[in-house]
């Protein structure tokens, strides 16, 4: 056998083997594949593992109860190793090779944004878990047809904070300190100011700093002179700790408020007294009675605590099942169409997808208050 012929033979053998594998797959009992993508290595692994565990547990529970439209749900999960390129590859593999009907994840916006072109090419819908950047589903005012998400978007937290401050706390004079170099902080600021002024409140000061700054007293002194009742601080815990300490050192007594960048043990370590009595807007609270059942089931199965991502992966799974059932089909495009009219009650709140943005709108956020170094759940709130 010449080398050339040998190569052809090996190629043919491989092809036959592949075909055989495919044939075997389709001959088995009716199975529907659900994809998952996320991080199983690196510093986000703890979140990714929790999501995959959750999706697998939900699929097992569903299969035990008879499956989805008569088919068994099989979860195929890939690790994107925290790399946007790997994430795109994983989605391509899920859609072209594994033929999944829907994908859950990834959790980070930076990974959820670049996968859109593959989803649109392969016509498979995706439900992102904690990707909160607006661009995950809408770019330049146009909705991406196959991208959905189960969490609310960043700027929405600003609207929640403003509504809560004005309607519930009855504050009318607010100040904002924000990070001018950060999209997240700018988005929250914009929506806070919009909602707060629309409701009739007044923004008495709007001051900025730049990521990397450690001293906020010039801005805070100016805020102090404007005498606000509440200061909105939409940035991350390190700057929150520094700026809240400095605010108290300058004699500012106003209530402080922030978003999901706050919750952290380090904030308490660094600024326990300064943030006492402050309010935080978050996706959900671990002490909320509605999440307790899932928490118990998860902990019983995996012997470890649930991360925030797990709760959202739980609701993403519910969204997928609901869409397939309403479409009465396991066709990815039919599921996509049904996802657009999602209106279900999840454990993280009511999920009503707006077809124009593919975001759950009017979803309730959890309001948490920091009291003596503890995060105390107050109530759910939607503006």
């Amino acid at each position: 056998m010449s080398i050339k012929k040998k190569r052809v033979f090996i190629l043919a053998a491989c092809a036959a083997l592949c075909l055989g594998l495919f044939a075997q797959g389709s001959a088995a009992e009716k199975v529907v594949k659900l994809g998952w993508v996320g991080s199983l290595t690196g510093d986000q692994a703890i979140w990714g593992q929790c999501e995959l565990n959750t999706v697998k547990m939900m699929a097992e529970e569903l299969n035990a109860a008879g499956g989805l439209l008569g088919a068994k749900v099989e979860v195929v999960g890939y690790d994107h190793r925290g790399d946007a390129m790997e994430c795109v590859n994983a989605v391509r593999r899920l859609t072209s090779q594994d033929k999944v009907v829907c994908i859950i994840g990834p959790n980070a916006s930076g990974h959820a944004i670049p996968i859109a072109s593959v989803l649109e090419e392969m016509k498979v819908p995706d439900i992102a878990t904690v990707a909160t950047n607006p661009k995950v589903t809408v770019v330049d005012g146009k909705v991406k047809p196959f991208n959905f998400r189960v969490c609310f978007i960043d700027p929405y937290q600003g609207a929640v904070a403003a509504g809560f401050a004005y309607d519930v706390l009855k504050f009318t004079k607010a100040a904002v300190l924000y990070d001018v170099a950060d999209d997240y902080s700018q988005g929250l600021t914009e929506f806070f100011i919009k909602t707060f002024t629309e409701k009739g409140g007044k923004i008495v000061a709007k001051e900025a700093f730049k990521f990397g700054d450690t001293d906020f007293r010039p801005q805070l002194s100016k805020i102090k002179a404007a005498n606000p009742e509440i200061i909105f601080m939409p940035y991350f815990f390190k700057e929150v700790a520094l700026s809240s300490n400095q605010a108290r050192e300058l004699g500012i007594k106003a209530t402080l408020m922030g978003g999901d960048g706050w919750p952290s043990e380090i904030l308490i370590q660094m600024a326990k007294d300064a943030v006492h009595g402050s309010y935080v807007v978050n996706h959900l609270d671990f002490d909320d009675p509605e999440v307790q059942d899932f928490k118990t089931r998860y902990t019983a199965k995996y012997k470890r605590a649930v991360e925030l991502n797990g709760f959202l992966a739980h609701d993403a799974f519910l969204m997928f099942v609901d869409a397939a059932e309403r479409a009465n089909s396991l066709n990815p495009v039919a599921i996509r169409d049904a996802l657009e009219s999602t209106d279900i009650k999840g454990i993280t709140g009511n999920i009503r997808i707006n077809p124009a943005t593919h975001n759950p709108e009017g979803k309730e956020a959890a309001i948490i208050r920091i009291m003596d170094g503890n995060y105390v759940f107050q109530q759910k709130y939607a503006p």
């Binding site: 990397g212 801005q219 002194s221 100016k222 102090k224 002179a225 050192e249």
Partner: protein, 292 residues
Amino acid sequence: MAQFLQQMINGLSIGSVYALMAVGYSLVYSIMSFSNFAHGGVIMLGSYFGFYLLTLAHWAFPAAFVGAALCSAGLAVIVERVAYRPLRLRNAPFLYFIISAMGASIFLENFVVATIGPTFRTYPTVLPRAPIEIGSVYIGRLDIMIFIISAVCLALLVYFLDRTKVGKAVQATAHNARAAKLMGINTDLVITLVFAIGGLLAGVAGVMFGMKYTVYPQMGGITIKSFIAAVFGGLGSLPGAVIGSLILGIMETLISGYFSSQFRDLISFTLLIAVLVFRPMGLMGKATEEKA
């Protein structure tokens, strides 16, 4: 008026932190004529030394403070031995020193990320957080302490350089290293000494910074502002470094207090560039041969 006074105090306190860091840059520049970018890394490690001496070794604060300064001095000398001396012995061009300095700075930062970890740490409370109220102006106790310690350190440094024999040797080396060597001054020893002093100041600055804010591997980045302040004041001139830092601190505060905090860096650094266009040697910089 109260707000203006408060902003001036804010500015002075930010400026005095810059000043402690800027003096280290200026000192090394005056001897070696290059910008020692590893200084930021030494400040960062100084901050960690102080943190661990306080929390792990449970030293009393004054002891930990001196300990951190000495450790940083040692580190600065090691950096000089490893990163600069081989270049100096081979009369390498000036650019190589800067590249080597940047390398050392990146090394120190990543060394800390890899060994201690990227999360930031908080100093235990040494002074009560409650500020002193004078009328409607609030002054932090820590700020007063930093101001006093900075002033004492700088006064000691000036005394050392102007009044002692070794200080004169440092000045002579800064003036003209070759001539100093011919006069029998051990310039290698002088350079080591200058790095040790720069390291001491870095340790002091690191502990102060850590106490006032927090400790993290990237904190060396903040020193870029103090470097700019040193250039503004006139690189190589110690009073220039101090005055440049205080001016930068006050300018930043006043711009964010009375104009716009969004444009703070934009405006303050445009002003700095404008000053340098008219006085390229900086505010206090003299002709290049008169340094230190």
